[in-house]
């Protein structure tokens, strides 16, 4: 292990069972990667359901996806990619000891995540009005396919679970802002920023797949 590269020897963050900051940083990062593996398989289950039903009823997916608005889906994709960029910028700021930049970038990320959720809210509300409700509450008659309810069950489960992850991300980001304001982070210690960033990028990646699979069926 190399010597801690921190400019000043601030070691408040170092827990007793680690040898040095680098070991702690590497361990946390690996822990996050292992966690991301579990996240991928967690969503993987839903993708399996999606693929199995799509293989059974390709026409159902064609019909039902016309109810989803490609424009707003694309906007949301762009919003999430933008927020990934700002998270990456936030990490860069932390690495360069620019705490102000870190906080600003986190604020922008939170803002973009909220925009995503608001758009999602309007999409959901629009469907609810039509009677496209999840599960047995489904009452929309506009799709001539007997399994239409299942497509929307999968849609709601996938986007809903993704939405929950976005909310968790917003919570984590707010926590980071509070910590950053207390001057906890510096170029020698920004582990929470880094691993929250990893989480956020994964949420972005999952949406990158959800978008074409749900909205872009033609």
């Amino acid at each position: 292990m190399s010597k801690p590269s921190a400019l000043e020897e601030k070691l408040d963050h170092l827990q007793h069972h680690f040898i040095d900051s680098d070991q702690q940083f590497e361990a946390s990062k690996m822990g996050m990667w292992v966690f991301l593996v579990t996240e991928i398989l967690f969503f993987g289950g839903l993708f399996v359901a999606y693929i199995a039903y799509r293989a059974w009823y390709p026409d159902l997916y064609l019909l039902a996806s016309t109810e989803l608005d490609t424009f707003w889906g694309a906007v949301n994709t762009a919003v999430l990619i933008g927020s990934s960029l700002t998270v990456a910028m936030a990490i860069r700021s932390a690495q360069l000891n620019q705490i102000k930049g870190l906080i600003i970038n986190l604020y922008i990320t939170i803002g973009l995540a909220c925009v995503f959720m608001v758009i999602k809210y309007f999409e959901y509300a629009h469907k609810f009005e039509k009677g496209i409700l999840p599960g047995s509450y489904y009452s929309y008659e506009g799709i001539a396919h007997e399994k239409a309810n299942i497509f929307f069950s999968i849609y709601y489960m996938m986007t809903g679970l993704h939405g929950v992850h976005v909310l968790v991300g917003i919570g984590l980001m707010i926590w980071l802002v509070i910590k950053a304001k207390k001057k906890v982070f510096h170029s020698g210690y920004y582990t929470p920023v880094e691993i929250t960033g990893l989480y956020w990028h994964l949420v972005d990646i999952i949406w990158i797949f959800l978008f074409p699979l749900l909205y872009l069926i033609d």
Binding site: H16, T38, I40, V48, K147, N149, S153, M157
Partner: protein, 581 residues
Amino acid sequence: MATNEATTSIKKLQVKRFKPDENPEKHYLNEETGIWAWMTTVDHKKIGLMYLASITFFFFIGGMLALLIRTELLTPAQSFIDADVYNQVFTLHGAIMIFFFLIPSVPAVLGNFVLPLQLGAKDVAFPRLNLASYYIYVIGALFTIFAIFTGGVDTGWTFYTPYSATTTGNVMAMTFGVFVLGFSSILTGLNFIVTIHKMRSPGLTWNKLPLNLWGLYATSLIQILATPVLAITLLLLTMERALGIGIFDPNLGGDPVLYQHFFWFYSHPAVYIMIVPGFGIISEVISTFSRKVIFGYWAIALSSLAIAFIGFLVWGHHMFTAGQSSLANMVFSFLTFLVGIPTGIKIFNWLATMYKGSIDLKTPMLYAMVFLFLFTIGGFTGIMLGALSVDVHLHDTYYVVAHFHYVMMGGMVMAFLAGLHYWWPKMFGKMYSEFWGRISCGIIFVGFNMTFLPQFVMGAQGMPRRYFNYIDQFQPFHQFSTVGAYVMGIGFFIMAGYLFHSLRKGKRSGSNPWGSRALEWQTSSPVPLHNFEHTPVIINGPYDYHKPMSEFQLGIATSHNGHDHHGGDHTDVSKTEKEQA
């Protein structure tokens, strides 16, 4: 051969021999006592013991439920509980034994206690996460208990749709409890993987890693790769009940066989979550009590990983008669047989380790022998069930029940007991009664075979599982089986007795009662608060019994990282340094 190289570089680093304190005054059990200190501890050893207490509780409950089932089955018709209660009882027996006992048993209890010790680390990589995973386990358990008292669950531990989507009772609380529990398992696996990667002592390379850790590593990989799928499956099932999403419920257009794929994608690898860490323990115990280098170190280590991997591809053998396509049946049957090979290799390796050893049949070794015998039977009957045409006849009969009890109880529980007896002195610094240990091992062995051997016969004769009533011709087998269950119960009762006695009045064990070369035995018993008073340095493999003990006790004096809040350590260091190599 590496010794010479190593010793030269060791001199530069000022490596000394640290003999463990045989009679430590301060250790993890008497520093920081009191309920609150235990509840908030982040010490992996105490968390391990908290898990031990919890799983013992659930093993007791699950065992009592088993006796209830066996007693009811004494007669073909209803004897003292009705069908509804019976169905709830076997559901709970299965769910509790699998989710609350077997899955956390070795990783969360013995793994938590031993893993950092075998690595020479002070703790796991994320101690707070470790404590959190314990509390998540407790929360999951509370949900399940809540489900029992608010309507019960009668679906069987497999929660097959559409029955689970339509039956009355509180299935939602139960599945949610198991869902929560899954996260405990995931976090433990995550913690172990990172710990093994990042917290190894100097010199502890991958080819010197104890086989127990290879087993735990393979287990952790399965935990992180499979458990999330259980989580999503149960979430979908909960949603099925709450909202009627219809993915698995045929009444709403779904496919129940798809549910079975989801469920077994987790639950078959879960069998390996239960058994693979058992393999690790058996390797440790057999090598220690044969005082001999393990035969085929890499074969055992890699076969654990191979089992973990192939174990993911065989889930469909639970579904040969479920209406799965013939193509899938063929592929799953083929892969199932492949998983038998690495398992067989392990058995032969353990036997070869005993060959020309110096075998001491102490209680842990006795359990290891029992494991070898019972697990082999479990394995062979598994081959039987993997054979497509025979499985059609045997599927969902008592043959399957007997088979998985031979694997889970004859394999896993025996391995757990071997490990518990093996590491007991390390945990508490006390010895148990060797005499009663052997007696109860014998009683459990006899009782176990009495219980489950007849079940093979009645299963092959056609007795279906999960039957409350049965036709008269099976009664003699059921009665024999019930008697066996009580014999086994007596065995466990004796075990509880002598283990409690050892806690209160046991003889001091000394740091290394078995003469093992493994790292966890090179510190005092009970273990100091931070495991080692020095940083261990490893130059030999953990099974190199041909090398002197002194080469296994090397280390560098600890330089604590500045702000250690446990003041005691600094003063104690000088005490342990009194003897040098």
